[in-house]
């Protein structure tokens, strides 16, 4: 990681030293228009539950920022880590029993499963949105319910197409196709050259869902309509499935058993030359001297645009929740505000070395995105992101449908020929209806 995180930290430390103290505890040094003021309660201490970071730099930066907050306000913040799959049940239980952590970095639509247990942070979100160029639409979708911010968007863990440049060129393509038709042609040509693509049709929580949602959305399909009525059975979905079938023909065999890690493994072993993944696969190649050749050959890009005419992807999304059972809501809001302000946010995004994409548009200028050309597509994660229950309301049904792999299974049964596209859609419709309860 050669990103200038160190420089950034050094630079931002000075600014914080100058202005940070003024914002907390002390008299306000400068008053902005609608800037909310949070005065931590006397003797306040906080607990934050977060997912285990994907890179050490993320954790270092987050803890360094937290330490700055503690130094400025005297409020101790304990940061607990849990592996990312365990966050969802733990957060739900904390919300239910009304104790445990004060704040959680949650995933996807978690906030919508217990909105009445969360502190309304609309004033803080409005202030941050106004100050930093506005929230990205998709990120906002996960955090807003009935026009109120029940959570604060934190980051998108971006997913992008990663491929071998030399293999693409050998297949007769000088640049990566921008649309789905061209993408299919590229995959066909790469298959013919013996350097195929591979996307998971197995129970891959992250990559499998990403791929399936892109297939559906890029062709204009959607699981439910705006009112939450299941709308998967549409000509657009059939088109998406037919496209997936054609694409599947070009894959390396066996992707229907792939879980999250398989594509990384196959790519780094040189078995496949085109996958979609987080930036981790690039760093894995870069760190290993034996893989220097692959690392130099890696390029990344966003998923091609389908008939729908715009980039739409799922990605992993994380938001910050503040539970109403917290004893120190003011201190917690002060902490969240502090962490979201430019100095802290920028150093955190830089520290996470392209894993975490900013929730606020102003941070798109973070130097991490231009530090390495591989990072560029990951910078757009928040922009192309769409909530998982699109286009309906979020909640138990949207979470349940995704956790039950309804969409992943729909594509998998069709591409492997176990069902016709029409049957696959009907089955998905039935399964989704069980959650959306018609």
């Amino acid at each position: 990681m050669t990103i200038n995180r160190r420089d950034l930290l050094a630079a931002s430390a000075g600014i914080v030293a100058a202005s940070g103290l003024g914002k907390f505890g002390m008299t306000p040094a400068f008053a902005q228009g609608a800037e909310p003021k949070y005065t931590p309660e006397a003797g306040a201490s906080l607990r934050l539950l977060r997912w285990t970071p994907f890179v050490q730099g993320d954790e270092d930066a987050w803890l360094a920022n937290t330490k700055k907050f503690t130094e400025a306000t005297g409020v101790e913040v304990r940061v607990d880590k849990e592996s990312w799959e365990d966050i969802r049940p733990k957060a739900a239980v904390a919300a239910n029993v009304g104790s445990g952590p004060d704040m959680v970095m949650c995933w996807f639509d978690d906030a919508h499963q217990y909105p009445d247990k969360l502190v309304d942070m609309t004033d803080l979100a409005t202030y941050l949105g106004d100050k930093y160029g506005g929230w990205y639409e998709g990120m906002r979708g996960y955090a807003v319910r009935d026009d109120k911010f029940i959570a604060l968007p934190l980051a998108a863990i971006g997913n992008a197409v990663v491929y071998r440049d030399s293999h693409m060129k050998a297949a007769g393509f000088n640049e990566f196709p921008k649309d789905t038709d061209g993408f299919l042609e590229l995959c066909k040509a790469m298959k013919a050259k013996g350097t195929p693509a591979g996307f998971p049709h197995g129970k891959a929580v992250g990559d499998g869902n990403n791929y399936a949602h892109w297939l559906l959305w890029s062709h204009g399909g959607k699981m439910v309509d705006e009112s939450g009525k299941v709308a998967i059975n549409s000509p657009e979905t059939i088109a998406a499935i037919n496209y997936a079938k054609a694409l599947y023909e070009t894959f390396i065999p066996g992707t229907e058993s792939w879980q999250d890690i398989n594509n990384n493994r196959a790519f780094l072993a040189g078995q496949v030359s085109l996958i979609a993944n987080g930036v981790s696969v690039y760093y894995a190649a870069k760190k290993d001297p034996a893989l220097a050749e692959i690392a130099a050959d890696i390029r990344s890009t966003n998923f091609p645009i389908g008939p729908v005419g715009q980039s739409v992807e799922l990605h992993q999304t994380s938001s910050l929740l503040l539970f109403s059972h917290t004893k120190y809501p003011e201190a917690a809001k002060a902490y969240i505000k502090f962490m979201m302000e430019a100095d802290q946010m920028n150093s955190w995004i830089a520290g996470a070395s392209a894993y975490c994409c900013q929730p606020l548009k102003a941070f798109a200028s973070n130097p991490v995105w231009t530090a390495d050309p591989i990072h560029a597509p990951y910078a757009r994660a928040s922009e192309t992101l769409r909530p998982n229950g699109y286009a309906g309301p979020l909640g138990y049904a949207s979470a349940g449908v995704m956790a039950d792999y309804v969409l992943v299974d729909m594509f998998a049964v069709a591409v492997t020929g176990q069902m016709t596209p029409e049957e696959a859609v009907e089955q998905a419709e039935k399964r989704a209806n069980r959650y959306y309860r018609v």
């Binding site: 799959e85 969802r88 049940p89 957060a91 739900a92 239980v93 919300a95 239910n96 499963q113 217990y114 247990k117 049709h201 197995g202 129970k203 929580v205 390396i252 065999p253 066996g254 992707t255 229907e256 058993s257 792939w258 879980q259 398989n262 493994r265 196959a266 072993a269 078995q271 138990y396 979470a399 349940g400 956790a403 039950d404 299974d409 998998a412 049964v413 492997t416 176990q418 089955q427 039935k430 399964r431 069980r434």
Partner: protein
């Protein structure tokens, strides 16, 4: 004065300790409390949750049999029931056959007998998750050692799709489960074999019994009580298997290897539908009870053990 009064009217505690019934209750109390707290209560709670629409993070209300009605019309649930029964049946039969065979071999006078007996236990000793991870590599779509070896030998020209094809995937997870389960069956049956007095075998030999007849009419009847217990446990372990499936396939491809236990987890915890997950788990109970009852009232009957009919 005090002595006489204590002799004539023993204190309440003393009389309690002298009462056998009271003493019995007191000795059993810790175990009973333990069982109630850690077995009965969770089980009862699970059954209750199955009748509610509890979500993770939200208390449910009683909805009667609605969860079960939904499951009745759910093709994925029925697929998981089919998978579980198939998985349990095939794996148990194989484990029994191979385990018994192995036990008979180990019961012979082999060189390095103790060494082999220790080795046989290895698959059972290795934590399931670790052996499952090893199998995950063995069955990998690209890096399978089996596929690689066969390709090097020129027997096949592309890797075997172990976990991607429904039939292959079921066979693969069953094979992994059998590999893991054989030692338990083999060692337990070996223990049973060693309790059979050699004089019985000798007597049968003198009567001119062939080795098959000795096995069929001496060894097997003597072994039946052990078989009943071992196979009951084996069936229960197999029926409730979770880790192996979760590591190898997570229930894929397209739910072809989803067992009731894995489906219950998937719906209950990541999916948040705690009530429905509990209902799936409760739906396993009749199957488990049936196998226990079969073992207790069937396999342990004297008549059956002696080769007779009812």
């Amino acid at each position: 004065m005090s002595t006489t009064s204590s002799e004539t009217r023993p204190s309440f505690l003393t009389s309690l300790f002298r009462n056998n019934n009271a003493l019995g209750v007191m000795f059993m109390l810790p175990a009973a409390v333990f069982l109630v707290c850690f077995l009965t209560y969770p089980l009862g709670l699970g059954v209750w949750l199955g009748f509610t629409d509890t979500k993770i993070g939200r208390d449910g209300i009683f909805i009667g049999l609605e969860n079960y009605e939904f499951l009745w019309g759910d093709s994925v649930f029925w697929l998981s029931v089919f998978n579980t029964v198939l998985y349990t049946f095939v794996a148990s039969v194989l484990k029994f056959g191979l385990g018994l065979w192995l036990a008979l071999i180990l019961n012979e006078n082999l060189p390095f007998k103790s060494f082999f007996r220790a080795i046989v236990l290895l698959p059972w000793v290795v934590p399931t998750v670790l052996s499952a991870l090893a199998f995950w590599w063995i069955y990998d779509a690209q890096f399978s050692i089996v596929s690689w070896s066969l390709m090097q030998l020129g027997l096949i020209d592309h890797p075997i799709n172990f976990l991607g094809d429904p039939v292959n995937a079921r066979a693969s997870v069953i094979a992994a489960n059998v590999w893991r389960g054989i030692p338990f069956v083999a060692i337990s049956l070996l223990a049973g074999l060693q309790t059979i007095s050699p004089s019985l075998q000798e007597a049968a030999s003198l009567d001119g019994a062939t080795s098959w007849q000795r096995f069929r009419y001496v060894t097997l009847p003597m072994l039946t009580p052990i078989i009943a217990v071992v196979m009951t446990f084996s069936v229960l372990f197999t029926f409730t298997d979770f880790q192996l499936i979760y590591v190898l396939t997570k229930g894929g491809p397209v739910n072809a290897t989803h067992l009731m236990a894995t489906l219950s987890f998937q719906r209950g915890i990541p999916g948040g539908q705690l009530g429905e997950g509990a209902a799936i788990a409760v739906a396993m109970i009749p199957f488990l009870l049936a196998s226990i009852l079969f073992s207790f009232f069937g396999l342990q009957r004297r008549k059956w053990q002696q080769g007779g009919q009812d």
